[in-house]
């Protein structure tokens, strides 16, 4: 056996995979006082132990680095979340809250100025959609803006795709009511977006919408 073979044989012997015939020969050499195989095997065992110990230390060190990175990630994430929350609060304070405060009084003023108000007031309402709008206005007088908004959106959905003039009027009424409800319910950004849309349309309420937009600037 040369040196390379020694190393290979010792590995196989320690792993218990040396073929039986070779194992007998190997053990004979191990017990031979003239052979240096025993001391070489002990040295190889120590080397293997030291290699595994190095592997073990590197693994624990890697685990420590992983935990450190994870901790750092959470720390950065929490800092980012706090910053985001603070930015949102600041935006609320500086932009949204004043806008909502400005819009609120206009909602009560303009919500009762519907195109179909006269027809509604005449009492004889047979159109179910007009009835719904009338009901929405009743909710507003009861200060139930949420329910009024729900009905307005409902009418908008049902009249959106129709092309008759009456239904289009109803759609514009419902859209206008919806905008007023949004203004009243402190949704200023949504309300402003809708007012801009109404102002750009050739509907009944474009001037009034533009009027509100001018005032809240």
């Amino acid at each position: 056996m040369n040196q390379l073979e020694h190393t290979e044989w010792i590995d196989l012997y320690l792993a218990g995979t040396l073929p039986p015939a070779d194992k007998m020969e190997f053990e004979r050499l191990l017990s031979d006082p003239e052979s240096s195989l025993l001391s070489e095997m002990q040295l190889q065992q120590d080397i293997i132990m030291a290699i595994r110990e190095r592997g073990m230390r590197e693994m624990l060190q890697a685990e420590e680095c992983r935990r450190h990175r994870q901790k750092l990630f959470w720390r950065i994430s929490s800092v980012s979340l706090i910053s985001l929350a603070m930015a949102a609060a600041l935006a609320l304070l500086l932009i949204i809250a004043p806008l909502a405060r400005q819009m609120f009084p206009y909602s009560e003023q303009y919500a009762v100025t519907l195109n179909n108000s006269q027809a509604m007031r005449s009492g004889e309402i047979t159109d179910p959609l007009l009835q719904q709008l009338h009901q929405a206005q009743t909710f507003i007088t009861q200060n139930n803006w949420r329910e009024a908004d729900r009905l307005a959106v409902e009418v908008m959905k049902q009249t959106k795709s129709t092309e008759t003039e009456e239904q289009l009027d109803l759609y514009h009424d419902a859209e206008w009511l919806h905008a007023q409800c949004l203004m009243h319910r402190n949704c200023p950004l949504q309300a402003r977006r809708l007012l801009k849309k109404i102002a750009s349309d050739n509907g009944y309420y474009n001037k009034q919408a533009q009027n509100i937009l001018d005032k809240i600037k």
Partner: protein, 187 residues
């Protein structure tokens, strides 16, 4: 996992289970050793914990600790090693503010303490130093074979050797190189 399962994992070098063990007991270990030796900062305590875990592994590998010889919980045993490592660290830094009483306060008996004592034999120390200095191509090759337990085919693929035979030849050459270095140091 039970202590017995952890011992088996340390014995078979089950890296996933060893890492789980390491993560599971780290906080408790650092708290206990930190409360006994208040002069250590958190980084030193983590170093002590790593050292203690390595010694626990070594004791299991060398057959000094088995399911039969474990008379306390594995964590108590680990804390016992930790106290010794802490004591050695203080002594090495010449900052012995505590006395040998740390050994008597230990949760493990003197007989067991003698088992935990770090092998300071010159021979193994020299082997460890030589192995730790080892670089490319030997370090990744030998670590993949002896620590990660990869086959020669896998190592050849991972480390871009032509085939398993050339990886095996290189591995044996590396091993012989280490042996000759150590023999020259009269080991």
């Amino acid at each position: 996992m039970t202590d017995s399962a952890y011992i088996s994992a340390f014995l078979s070098n089950n890296q996933k289970a060893i890492t789980a063990f390491y993560s599971r007991y780290k906080a408790s270990f650092v708290r206990i050793i930190g409360s006994k030796c208040r002069m250590f900062d958190s980084d030193t305590l983590v170093d002590i914990y790593q050292d203690a875990t390595c010694r626990l592994w070594e004791n299991i590998q060398r057959g000094k600790l088995t399911n039969e010889t474990l008379t306390t919980t594995l964590f108590s045993y680990l804390c016992g090693i930790g106290e010794l490592v802490a004591f050695e660290t203080l002594r090495a830094n010449k900052e012995i503010l505590i006395t040998d009483s740390i050994l008597h306060n230990s949760q493990i008996s003197d007989a067991e303490v003698s088992c935990y004592y770090y092998e300071k034999e010159e021979r193994y120390q020299a082997v460890r130093e030589t192995v730790n200095k080892m670089g490319k191509p030997c370090a990744p090759l030998l670590l993949n074979f002896y620590w990660n337990g990869y086959s020669m085919e896998e190592i050849a693929q991972r480390l871009n050797y032509k085939n398993a035979d050339s990886a095996k030849t290189q591995k044996n050459k590396c091993m012989n190189k280490l042996k000759s270095i150590l023999k020259n140091k009269s080991l």
